[in-house]
Symmetry: none
Subunit: 265 residues, 2 copies
């Protein structure tokens, strides 16, 4: 996510909706665009005109793609200033165009944007999808790997998946495997934990028959190692061991006291 | 997508919605599940009860996840038979759990499912998200790489992205390669372990001050969940807890016998 100061940040693709029907869906599209850092929305021939209050109502506060949305009569006009546009459609087309997954498409759009190209993703309306003539204006087709048994994908979902894939290409690194400031404890800390546990188990009679002790010890160590405990967690576990074994002392004293008639507890 | 006839197909993760509010969103979740080949839906404590007509109305014909949906009172019950459950949440948590992208999570869930494990993805309700105590029951957290400037992600979108990533792993068909040896214990076995440990710790006075108990419990649960113990390991740990807290019967009898002058051992 850090950007090289010498490089302009790659500009996200423009989202172009061709003949969208429901204003609610346009709002939902704005919302997912905002979720993944896209902001430029273009509408081609929206069925109910534009603007529509219902779009704002369903955008959950992602108003800026709606405020900035521009309206066109034809796809040709909406993509006129863009240098690389991909058409998102689930339908097989006779057109000889490369078919990409959203992941492949995002990678290519991201590379192009990184070189300063203006990119776009074209989506069809809810009912009719994209006209073949409009797909033919694009450099490739993006097909979401949907289950052929249930193809009815919501428009905002289609935008979301592509926007998500875009964002995956621009976020630098996968998230760290553990929370910051909490690396796994070192070997000495783990050995301290093992020694503590094993002493208490020994005292409690856990290891029997005795010849099995080495195996039991090593299994316990492996399963605890696997969790990669932090230092804090090692301290917590040592507290657990102390609490449990001190509890044993009390129980023992109670039992012994009961039997002998004394009460040392 | 071709399946080896000698291999059972990897069973998709169960989708668990904790305290979902709007039936429309449950329907939208069913729709995206169907889009990407998921079918098993579980609802924990749905706000407006279940079933709800509005869910069917918004599923666009993806009725089977709704027809088959099961309802639970607690997350514990909903995951009891699952062996690997990941929690989807955008919130930073104090819990020490691995943080995965949906892509990484899908890869791991897919590998686990390929080996016959029962897997699940846990999602929080629209307003409140997941309780930390519920996240602590999971082996890892899945965080969608959302733009920090606009975090309001629709529930069905969150499910869609994870379902999409699942489907990407099965259409790409990577070889199953989760972990050698025995599978992780299921949720019920882990809850048995937690209950046993917590009862003994309670008795030993470990939880103090008392108001910190819920936090301490959930930290312990998270660190133990992370290790993905097998059934055998859960039994071993329960033996460890028993030994530490009570000692083995023979030791007790011996000590008691010594004090009273009898020898029953």
């Amino acid at each position: 996510m850090s950007s090289d100061p010498g490089m302009p940040e790659a500009r996200p693709p423009v989202v172009i909706l061709s003949t969208p029907q429901l204003a609610e869906n346009i709002g939902a599209v704005a919302r997912v665009m905002a979720n993944f850092g896209l902001s430029e929305l273009r509408l081609v021939n929206p069925r109910d005109g534009w603007p529509q209050d219902r779009a704002w109502a369903s955008a959950s506060g992602a108003n800026w793609p709606l405020e900035g949305a521009t309206v066109f009569e034809r796809v040709e006009d909406a993509i006129a200033d863009l240098q690389l546009v991909y058409a998102t459609t689930a339908r097989p087309r006779e057109l000889q165009l490369p078919i990409l997954t959203p992941r492949q498409a995002a990678g290519e759009l991201s590379s192009a944007a990184g070189e300063g190209l203006r990119t776009g993703l074209l989506f069809g309306g809810e009912r009719a999808g994209l006209e073949t003539a409009d797909v033919a204006l694009c450099s490739a087709v993006v097909t979401i790997p949907i289950d052929p048994k249930f193809r009815s994908l919501n428009l905002a979902q289609a935008v979301a998946l592509n926007a998500y894939e875009w964002r995956m290409t621009v976020t630098d690194a996968p998230p760290p495997n553990f929370r910051e400031g909490a690396p796994p404890a070192d070997g000495a800390a783990m050995l301290g934990l093992f020694g503590h546990l094993e002493r208490e188990l020994e005292e409690s009679g856990f290891f029997h028959p005795p010849e099995k002790t080495p195996n039991m010890v090593q299994n316990l160590r492996a399963m605890l190692s696997r969790a990669r405990f932090t230092d804090q967690e090692v301290r917590t576990l040592r507290g657990v061991i102390t609490a449990l074994s001190r509890g044993r002392g009390k129980v023992l004293e109670k039992i012994a006291g009961r039997k002998t008639g004394e009460d040392e507890g």
